[in-house]
């Protein structure tokens, strides 16, 4: 557990203390993510709270995590073993994952051995106060052979927010042979908050990982997914959507490593950026030598709604094997004027018409979610 008192700490100084080199604008993997606000803020450790966030409109087993601390007792769920973690699963060079390990608030070990009937919801909730709080939370999710589960992460906050807070989340996920994990995330942090999340996923033979992440909030947010397809027949679907009308930086980063033959990955990421917001997408498909008969596809599309909005995209293919099918595409532009005109000529107001188009645009990514209830939930979330 961290040795933090009530004192406030400058994040860069904390990093220095642990010898962690935080990214600068010259760090390639972070070049588009402007971290200045995040790094130059003084934080102090979040105190625990009893308050909990609201729940989505479907049945789920819930673990409430308030201010980075698990609220109450851990629930008992059939087929799941829950405990607090004592150490991290693997080493990483990721600067924020290193900080997460160094200053861990709390962490959960979630071992899944059966086929879960209900989704497991990790309901993160922050009650901000006048001070700048930060918390580092980590989950180790192990899906044992032949198991199947659905895990949903929701990040929300309470009330009007004057201060900023920083949530640094790491998920270490191991999917064993023939296991299946659906992993959905909804990020709607306060508009001054910072949110950095890393999902490190290792998939064994014939394992399946399906993910979707909707980012709507925060000041600086990054959702990074790193997937290692380690066993033949392993499959990963990494979809995401982001929408922002304020001034935030929303970053979606994926790194997908095909290490063995006959693996498959697909990505569809769509964003809508307005105000003075800044959208970032960085995606890499890496195919190791001899990882033949692999398929990797990636598509990123973004719409800019305002003159000050920005979008930076870096899709990347890194291929060392010849018998592969890989492609990526990226497009950005504004809302189709003809479509807008079509609707306006039928008496639909401009704002409403825009909203309809945006919804249709983002719904593309949502329709790929396997679970119908979750799909419907996300459809509601993108209209709000």
């Amino acid at each position: 557990m961290p040795l933090l008192s009530d004192k406030t700490y400058l994040y860069t100084e904390l990093a220095q203390e642990k010898g962690v080199v935080l990214p600068t604008p010259k760090t390639e993997a972070w070049k588009y993510t402007r971290l200045r606000d995040l790094l130059n803020t003084e934080y102090q450790l979040c105190p625990s709270t009893d308050k909990t966030g609201s729940l989505p409109p479907f049945e789920a087993d819930v673990i409430h995590i308030g201010n980075g601390w698990v609220v109450g007792e851990l629930p008992r769920i059939e087929g799941v073993s829950l405990s607090f973690i004592t150490e991290t699963m693997e080493k990483t060079q990721h600067p924020f994952a290193l900080m997460n390990a160094a200053y861990l608030t709390q962490g959960l070990k979630i071992e899944i051995s059966g086929k879960l009937k209900r989704p497991l919801l990790l309901n993160y909730f922050v009650v901000p106060e006048d001070k700048n709080y930060f918390y580092h939370f980590r989950n180790q999710i192990i899906c044992h052979e032949n198991s199947s589960a659905e895990i949903i992460e929701q990040f929300t906050y309470e009330g009007a927010v004057k201060s900023c807070y920083f949530a640094n989340i790491v998920n270490e996920i191991r999917i064993e042979a023939n296991a299946k994990l659906h992993h959905y995330k909804y990020q709607n942090e306060a508009f001054k908050a910072n949110h950095i999340a890393l999902h490190k996923v290792a998939i064994s033979q014939s394992g399946e990982y399906e993910s979707f992440c909707l980012q709507k909030g925060a000041n600086i947010a990054r959702n990074e997914t790193e997937i290692a397809l380690n066993g033949e027949g392993a499959e990963a679907v990494v979809n995401a959507a982001y929408m922002m009308n304020g001034w935030a930086t929303l970053d979606t980063t994926t790194n997908i490593y095909h290490y063995v033959p006959h693996t498959k990955s697909s990505q569809l990421i769509k964003g809508v950026i307005g105000g003075t917001a800044h959208g970032v997408f960085q995606g890499r498909i890496h195919i190791a030598p001899n990882a033949i008969q692999t398929t990797g596809t990636q598509l990123h599309k973004a719409i800019l709604l305002s003159d000050e909005a920005e979008i930076d995209v870096k899709p990347e293919l890194e291929i060392f094997a010849d018998d592969v099918k890989c492609s990526h595409g990226a497009a950005s532009g504004e809302l189709d004027k003809e479509q807008l005109f079509y609707m306006r000529s039928r008496g639909i107001g401009e704002e409403e018409a825009k909203q309809i188009l945006i919804n249709a645009y983002l719904t593309d990514t949502i329709t790929q979610i396997s679970d119908e209830r979750v799909r419907e939930w996300f459809k509601i979330l993108i209209t709000g």
């Binding site: 995209v313 293919l317 890989c326 532009g333």
Partner: protein
């Protein structure tokens, strides 16, 4: 299908591996302020240029060699190179017949038919660069009639100092990057083209570069200025003799395009790629950039890159003028141990600017290739449009192909599209060809030529033939 004519005993297929024995006037090894002063003195340069060189050298010493490219090569010892080497000739030749016979023979072997060209009457004018100093320039009279200046940059510095002073370093400042800065300090020669207002060049202008003297870094500098309503098509072709030491080549090409003007720049790059184990070969670090300063201006880069052990090259378009157009067509082929990190930059600044990128990469053997490109739309570039397509073909299981495009959009009215695919030669296509009695190697070369067609058709005629041959030679031995 033609087989390459020369296969030497080492099994290498580099057709142009020979050295011409001409007495060279070479500066001592190393890079110091004195060497730069020597180069400047030898070239009888004005004071301002020497000052500029020295400023560049001073700045270069504060810079770090870039490491972001996906390239690995032995560290270059910049102090072990000669920075000046000129073929010794007592009197400057007035016509081709006065040029050193050895030189002419070299060109013949390379397939630059200088004399033939003369006979062909005005198809191509060659400003042949042999190492660092221009030795023969043809058709200058005909061009001069139209007011076109086409000469070596050293001559331009002497005869048109105002033009050179105005444009030199205006597109690629000496502070631009490590290799451009080095070039600015030590460049020895290159070409200068000035197309006056309203003039369309009556022929394609062409320069053949050729590295010759042992251990000489080549630092060419080309400057092309196209005034309002003008047009020029410029060809650059490269071959280099075979050597064991790695040779450094850090060139700069600067192009300025004014209102309604168009420049078409085509390159066939075939420097010595090293032998099949990666020994030797040219290090090619090139900065090429065109500024479309005027409205409705257009720049088109076409390149066929088959040579060099290491290629680091990003021909760029700065689209400043409204309605300006930038195009980039590229075929890059790497085989054996070659490495290439190449692509383009499209910077949209003016309104209604459009750009198009078509890049075809073919990796074979143990080679690695990266497409690295940037499309940037600034806030004032309303209605910018870009289309990028990068296709890669892998031949064999030991090569690598990478695509790293950067797209930065600051304007909502911009429409940007990027597509990339990677695949191998389809078994079906191969089978189809073989079924019809076409050998495997020949079939591969047919398919590869088809794969590149979109780019090749943008090459001028003379180049298109040479380039198609080069592709076949480059891929020799990569199949089966």
């Amino acid at each position: 299908m033609n087989r390459p004519e020369i296969i030497d005993e080492s099994g290498d297929k580099y057709k142009y591996g020979f050295t011409t024995d001409i007495e060279a006037d070479t500066a001592p090894v190393g890079l110091t302020e004195d060497i730069i002063r020597l180069i400047s003195r030898k070239k009888e340069e004005p004071e301002w240029l020497l000052d500029w060189r020295l400023k560049a050298f001073e700045f270069w010493q504060t810079m770090q060699e870039p490491t972001w490219a996906k390239l690995s090569y032995d560290k270059i010892d910049y102090q072990s190179l000669h920075y000046y080497s000129a073929p010794k000739q007592k009197v400057a030749p007035k016509s081709l017949s006065e040029v050193d016979k050895n030189l002419l023979e070299t060109y013949d072997k390379l397939g630059i038919p200088l004399k033939e060209q003369e006979a062909l009457a005005g198809v191509v004018a060659v400003d042949a660069v042999f190492d660092s100093v221009s030795v023969a320039t043809t058709y200058r009279a005909k061009l001069a009639e139209k007011g076109i200046i086409f000469c070596s940059i050293s001559e331009a510095i002497k005869n048109h100092p105002d033009l050179v002073k105005k444009y030199l370093g205006s597109v690629v400042p000496y502070t631009d990057n490590y290799f451009a800065c080095l070039n600015s300090a030590v460049f020895t020669d290159g070409s200068f083209v000035y197309i006056p207002k309203g003039v369309k060049s009556p022929m394609e202008l062409s320069t053949y570069f050729r590295i010759n003297a042992k251990n000489t870094g080549q630092f060419e500098r080309t400057l092309i200025v196209a005034e309002d309503d003008s047009y020029v098509s410029y060809l650059e072709g490269c071959t280099a003799p075979q050597r064991d030491e790695n040779q450094l080549h850090a060139a700069i090409v600067e192009i300025v395009v004014m209102n309604n003007a168009e420049v078409k720049y085509s390159t066939v790059q075939n420097w010595y790629p090293g032998d099949k184990d990666g020994k030797g070969g040219v290090y090619n670090f090139v900065t090429k950039r065109a500024a479309c300063r005027g409205a409705n201006s257009k720049i088109s880069w076409t390149q066929v890159e088959t040579g060099s052990a290491v290629t680091w090259k990003y021909p760029s378009c700065v689209l400043q003028g409204d309605n300006s157009v930038g195009e980039f067509y590229s075929v890059a082929i790497t085989n054996n141990r070659q490495q290439a990190d190449t692509g383009t930059k499209m910077i949209h600044i003016g309104k209604n600017t459009t750009s198009k990128i078509i890049s075809k990469g073919i990796s074979a053997g143990f080679s690695n290739q990266t497409y690295r490109g940037l499309v940037k739309v600034t806030p004032q570039a309303d209605n910018a449009r870009n289309y990028s397509q990068c296709d890669s073909l892998l031949i064999g299981t030991n090569c690598g192909s990478h695509t790293v495009p950067y797209v930065e959009n600051r304007n909502r009215s911009a429409v940007l599209e990027h597509e990339a695919t990677t695949s191998k030669i389809s078994e079906e296509q191969l089978f189809y060809c073989q079924q019809r009695g076409i050998g495997e190697e020949e079939a591969v070369s047919l398919i590869v030529n088809g794969f590149c067609k979109e780019v090749m058709q943008h090459l001028p005629m003379e180049f298109a033939i040479e380039a198609a041959k080069l592709i076949n030679i480059s891929l020799e031995g990569s199949v089966g």
